[in-house]
């Protein structure tokens, strides 16, 4: 099929009233949770996963995706006005966004970040539409060893490029893989780590684990947060428009940010947070005015915003064409698709053209909606920031509990949420990040199957991973990445010792 007929199929899917409704619901909700500090996209998607069981898969994915990229837009609002990042991706935006507020340029910052988000997203969508079908064709030749190597690459990237030391990330990945083995072994029917508990024979529920680790632990950590200062920002249209000098500095930064974001988004295992951090570092390094960074440099807000939005869109490339998620949030969406009986992989675009192209077109529509939501309606979100957290978090907990209970009407799963909430809070105190763990948890069962299949094809010879060119190159990239991180860590170590 040519691009034109693909796009018209996508338009037909995405413009149906129900798809439009779920797209709108997703981006609105995404903006809302992005604006509110203390509820991330991960927790929101985990909370809404149960709802999507009652919705057809295309609409479900359109909505979940809308939450994901909608949160990228909303995340910057609280960062700019209150120096409280609404999402992890937006933490970078506080560095120069808040100083802009202090110098009376909050409106400009809010305006330009929305434009930057839109530019980054559109570049990401174009890459997704152009690149994903090509990649799917290449991946058609992948067999078990290639998939295993690709998952190794994704997990190593997620572990190494997260915040904190790479060692912690690796521990989280392995612990996640281990959690993935709980339940019935598909090949032998053996119960593993079940301990006689009937409810565990199907494995740990994805929804319960994700809600506990991301939702409940976040609520525990933030519940006692003192009431934050209230934003005293008044929307003033005239003051929102950037000057010509602003545009001249911001537009190239958007281009560079989008490029950085698209690169990290396409790499499996790394998503928008790392993209926004790296893009900020790039801007600071190449700027002719590095001393302005941290004091309200407009490049410092636009480049990371473009980067995280470009990454949010391109992260769908590995997720949909290879079945290896771009980051932890996409791992959850992958889980949702699998629960709907759709196995993402090279065949997805051909077998489900209306899902793929409908999704692509819905991204364009959703981003247009987001521009409307974030510019004319910015006052609404600012006033939502005035709702104190102590009124919000009980509602979040209720939503989590009812949602997880409704998946299979099991009280057991509510207890599971509690257990994983405590585990997640403990991890937080010990500075372990939950994202690589979720990625390992979702990829674990697949990875084990690919490993077993590879070994039985190769008669137990592990060299098979190095003899096949594609799998060897994935492993080489993973090794290179690990080496680079370790070497740069050691260099910093030396620098600190001096």
């Amino acid at each position: 099929m040519d691009l034109f007929s693909n796009l018209s199929l996508g338009l037909a899917t995405a413009l149906s009233p129900s798809a439009l409704f779920f797209c709108f619901a997703g981006v609105t909700l995404g903006t809302l949770i992005g604006v509110l500090p203390g509820i991330g996209a991960m927790a929101a998607i985990a909370m809404l996963l149960p709802l999507t069981y009652h919705v057809p898969p295309t609409e479900a994915l359109i909505m979940l995706a809308g939450i994901y990229y909608g949160a990228q837009y909303g995340g910057s609002t609280a960062s700019i006005l209150l120096r409280l990042p609404g999402t992890a991706q937006a933490a970078v935006v506080t560095l120069d966004g808040y100083p802009m507020t202090q110098s009376g340029r909050a409106g400009v910052a809010l305006f330009i970040t929305t434009i930057a988000s839109f530019v980054g997203s559109m570049i990401g969508v174009i890459l997704l539409a152009g690149f994903a079908p090509v990649l799917a064709q290449v991946a058609g030749a992948f067999r078990a060893p290639e998939y295993f190597a690709l998952m190794v690459l994704g997990l190593v990237a997620a572990a190494m490029l997260g915040q904190g030391t790479p060692l912690r990330g690796l521990i989280m990945v392995v612990a996640g893989l281990l959690l993935g083995t709980v339940g019935t072994d598909l090949q032998s029917g053996t119960f593993r780590f079940v301990f006689g508990e009937q409810m565990l024979t199907d494995g740990l529920g994805l929804v319960a684990v994700a809600m506990g680790l991301f939702g409940v632990s976040e609520v525990i950590a933030n519940a006692a947060r003192p009431p934050s200062e209230r934003p005293d920002y008044r929307v003033n249209w005239r003051a929102m428009l950037p000057t010509r000098a602003d545009w001249r500095r911001a537009l190239p930064a958007m281009g560079r940010g989008s490029a950085v974001g698209a690169g990290f988004g396409t790499l499996p295992g790394t998503g928008s947070s790392i993209a926004s951090f790296v893009s900020y570092a790039v801007e600071k390094r190449i700027s002719r005015r590095p001393e302005e960074f941290g004091k309200g440099a407009i490049e410092g807000v636009t480049a990371p915003e473009s980067a995280n939005n470009a990454a949010a869109q391109t992260a769908f490339i590995p997720t949909l064409t290879l079945g290896v998620p771009g980051d932890a949030v996409l791992a959850l969406m992958l889980g949702a698709l699998i629960l709907h009986g759709i196995i993402p992989g090279p065949g997805l675009i051909e077998q489900q053209p209306s899902l793929f192209w409908g999704l692509v077109v819905s991204f364009v529509i959703g981003n247009l909606m987001l521009v409307v939501l974030n510019l004319p309606l910015i006052g609404l979100w600012v006033s939502i920031l005035r709702i104190p957290y102590r009124l919000l978090y009980p509602a979040v907990l209720i939503f989590i509990c009812i949602g997880v209970y409704s998946v299979r009407n099991a009280v057991f799963d509510v207890w599971l949420v509690l257990v994983f909430g405590l585990v997640g809070y403990g991890m937080r105190l010990l500075r372990f990040e939950p994202a690589p763990l979720i990625l390992g948890f979702i990829l674990g069962p697949l990875m084990e199957q690919y490993l077993r299949r590879s070994m039985s094809i190769a008669r137990g010879d592990p060299m098979v991973f190095l003899e096949r060119p594609m799998s060897a190159s994935f492993l080489a990239v993973a090794a290179g990445l690990a080496l680079w991180i370790i070497v740069s860590g050691l260099r910093r170590h030396k620098g600190a010792g001096r």
Binding site: L51, H54, G164, T165, L167, R168, L170, I171, V174, A175, L177, L178, T181, D185, Q187, S188, T190, R192, F193, V216, V219, I220, A221, A223, A224, Y389, R390, L391, Y393, P394, A395, L397, I398, F399, C401, I402, Y405, S406, V411, V414, W415, V417, L418, G421, L422, Y425, R428, L429, L430, R431, F432, E448, L451, R452, M455, S456, R459, G460, H493, A496
Partner: protein, 157 residues
């Protein structure tokens, strides 16, 4: 402030990971291991256990160095909030205990009342209003909107 000699979070985290790894090895070796050519159900958990032990020990040892103390400096405000932890644990446990026995509304009230204690001293009127609002909202969304089998009060069935 005197300079920290070690990084207790890294040491504790590493030891916990090691313990989890030992547990996985012990439990995994109870299943059929098989051979590398025909892996049994125990092979993968056992291998993961070995990896976890190695990584956990590495993290714990690294945590004993001065460099580790400097790389991840002291408590940054993320010290445990026992009050919030206890209140929210109790709230979730109450919800789990009540949802099937008593129904949606009592479970919501119990969770909201207990979880609200995390934010500060009890404020009965506020909690009542909040719990009533959330009950009505969740009943409307989940029961009316999605048609889930969640009776407002179980004993009215």
């Amino acid at each position: 402030m005197s300079e920290a000699r070690l990084n207790p979070r890294a040491v504790a985290g590493g030891l916990l990971a090691t313990a989890l790894g030992v547990f996985a090895m012990w439990e995994g070796s109870g299943y059929a291991i098989g051979s590398i050519r025909r892996m049994g159900p125990g092979w993968f958990p056992l291998a993961l256990g070995v990896l976890l032990v190695a990584l956990g020990l590495a993290l714990a040892l690294w945590g004993l160095t001065r460099h580790a103390a400097r790389a991840e400096p002291g408590p940054e405000s993320e010290s445990a909030d026992w009050r919030a932890l206890a209140a929210i644990t109790a709230g979730l446990a109450a919800f789990a205990a009540l949802i099937e026995r008593a129904g949606l509304v009592p479970a919501v009230f119990a969770l909201v009342a207990l979880a609200s204690l995390a934010a500060g001293p009890p404020r009965p009127l506020r909690v009542l209003a909040l719990a009533a609002a959330i009950s009505a909202l969740s009943w409307a969304v989940f029961r009316l909107g999605l048609g889930l089998p969640l009776p407002a009060f179980a004993f009215w069935r």
